[in-house]
């Protein structure tokens, strides 16, 4: 079991997402920075679909009642026990030892994985928390969560995954509604620097910058994916994140590749984002590179 001693500002159990009920309007939810959770899971020997804890705001402190391997990943994150330990690195923790997750200046979402995974009861096939529909609840100090059987032990401490470079350089594929925009709108989108608005959350990151308004005309709502860059009529783009609605009626000028979703999710209000056009092969290449990075660090049972 893991006991939450201090719960941060908003912390939730998340896995890679709930994809079985999209057509009932249930958003995927799951980790906003999907690669950071995947890295933390790999470092502690968990399966890809294991659940961890997404932490917004600190202090976050926890204790496990038996020995576990843990890892924290995200932007500007580290762990503290007796000494400070780096993020993106597996750490052995003894039974009853108090561990603090530290988030420095640029942190937005931190991901904690514990060997064995958070073993709360799945809802609709996933442990991902989606607060608006009551799928899960925010964690509170004093909460005790069950853990699964761990595969990793003390000998697995010190493994490391190369952290994401949160540099605001985001690769995106065009479309699917690029034909709803003038050619120069697309050129502006891929040439401009946008600034992240404060009203950004797990549903989407709102951007300010040069307007990219679509051509006039109605668009019938269609299913949409995480990473879709929607452009409402006023021309200010929104990049959809994990809690996005399953359908949308705004034209989508481009779609952020899966490998760069974390860079968007972790961008802080006021920080710049720039989009770089890539094709699907490049997007797939980036996914395969992620997979290699994780396989290279994964604890093998």
């Amino acid at each position: 079991m893991i006991r939450i001693d201090e719960a941060g500002v908003r912390s939730t159990v998340q896995d890679r997402g709930r994809f079985g009920h999209l057509r009932s309007g249930v958003p995927p939810a799951g980790a906003a920075d999907r690669f950071a959770l995947a890295a933390a899971n790999a470092l502690v020997g968990n399966a890809e679909d294991a659940a961890g804890i997404e932490i917004i705001g600190t202090p976050f402190r926890f204790t496990c009642d038996d020995a576990r391997v843990v890892a924290v990943a995200g932007r500007d994150v580290s762990l503290a026990m007796r000494t400070r330990l780096p993020g993106w690195t597996s750490v052995f923790v003894r039974a009853g030892q108090s561990v603090t997750v530290h988030a420095a200046e640029h942190a937005r979402f931190a991901y904690l994985a514990v060997s064995g995974g958070i073993a709360t009861a799945p809802l609709l096939g996933s442990r991902a928390t989606y607060l608006p529909a009551g799928l899960g609840a925010p964690l509170r100090a004093g909460d005790v969560l069950p853990l699964g059987e761990p595969d990793a032990g003390a000998e697995d401490a010190g493994r490391r995954v190369e952290p994401t470079t949160y540099d605001g350089r985001v690769r995106a594929m065009t479309g699917p509604h690029d034909d709803r925009f003038d050619a120069d709108a697309s050129a502006r989108f891929f040439g401009a620097t946008f600034v992240v608005e404060p009203a950004s959350d797990r549903q989407g990151v709102r951007l300010a910058g040069v307007p990219i308004a679509p051509r006039p005309g109605e668009l019938l709502s269609c299913g949409i994916v995480t990473g879709a860059v929607q452009v409402p009529r006023a021309g200010a783009p929104i990049v959809l994140l994990a809690d996005h609605q399953t359908t949308g009626g705004y034209p989508v000028i481009a779609t952020v590749i899966a490998a760069d979703l974390g860079k968007v999710a972790q961008a802080l209000p006021g920080e710049p984002l720039r989009f770089y056009r890539v094709d699907r092969d490049a997007a797939l290449g980036a996914l395969r590179a992620e997979r290699r990075a994780l396989d290279g660090s994964r604890v093998s049972a």
């Binding site: 994809f19 529909a133 594929m173 779609t255 952020v256 797939l284």
Partner: protein, 213 residues
Amino acid sequence: MTPRVVPFGEAAILVELGDDFQEALIDRARGIADHWETVAQLGPAVPAYASALLHFDPLRTPPAQAEKAARAMLARGAPTLVAGDKPRRVIEIPTTYDGPDLAETAARSHLSTEQLVTLHAAREYTAYFLGFLPGTAYCGRLDPRIVAPRLERPRERVPAGSVAIADGQTIVYPLTSPGGWRLIGRTDLAMFDPTAEEPARIRAGDRVRFVPL
């Protein structure tokens, strides 16, 4: 427009059947989504008015292969309603017609509130697809005499169970949320229950009736 298959990121494709509202396209989109999930089994699908979003795992299924499967479904023409073979259910929604926009919406159509209620409750609607929030079924079409646009200023808080109309369609808000549709009534029937095996009360393709209380 000619139907087309376009990438939507590296892990999904969007099958677009048209760009205008036609009930035949809605059925077709749902048929393609059903087929993708139950026959091709390459991932989840999200049907809408005239499109089906088809997800797949690009590390397992090369995108070109997923597109080929989608094009084959398009080429087959008429939908094979795999999941839709079940008889259409009729969902009855007990409704108290006392919404805050009822009087204004009736007045703008030169109707009494009683007339609007009668027209809203008279039709058996089709649930086109679900989206927006968990369990929100877009149902139509409304009687043309009560068609009205969305509110110019959306509400920040619409209570769960609100029965609403806009753009020729009607919905029930499953959760308390912001919203811009015209609120004409309310129901106590839960539209989304995460602990149920099938969490959404209404399934796309169902028939839906509002029963005045």
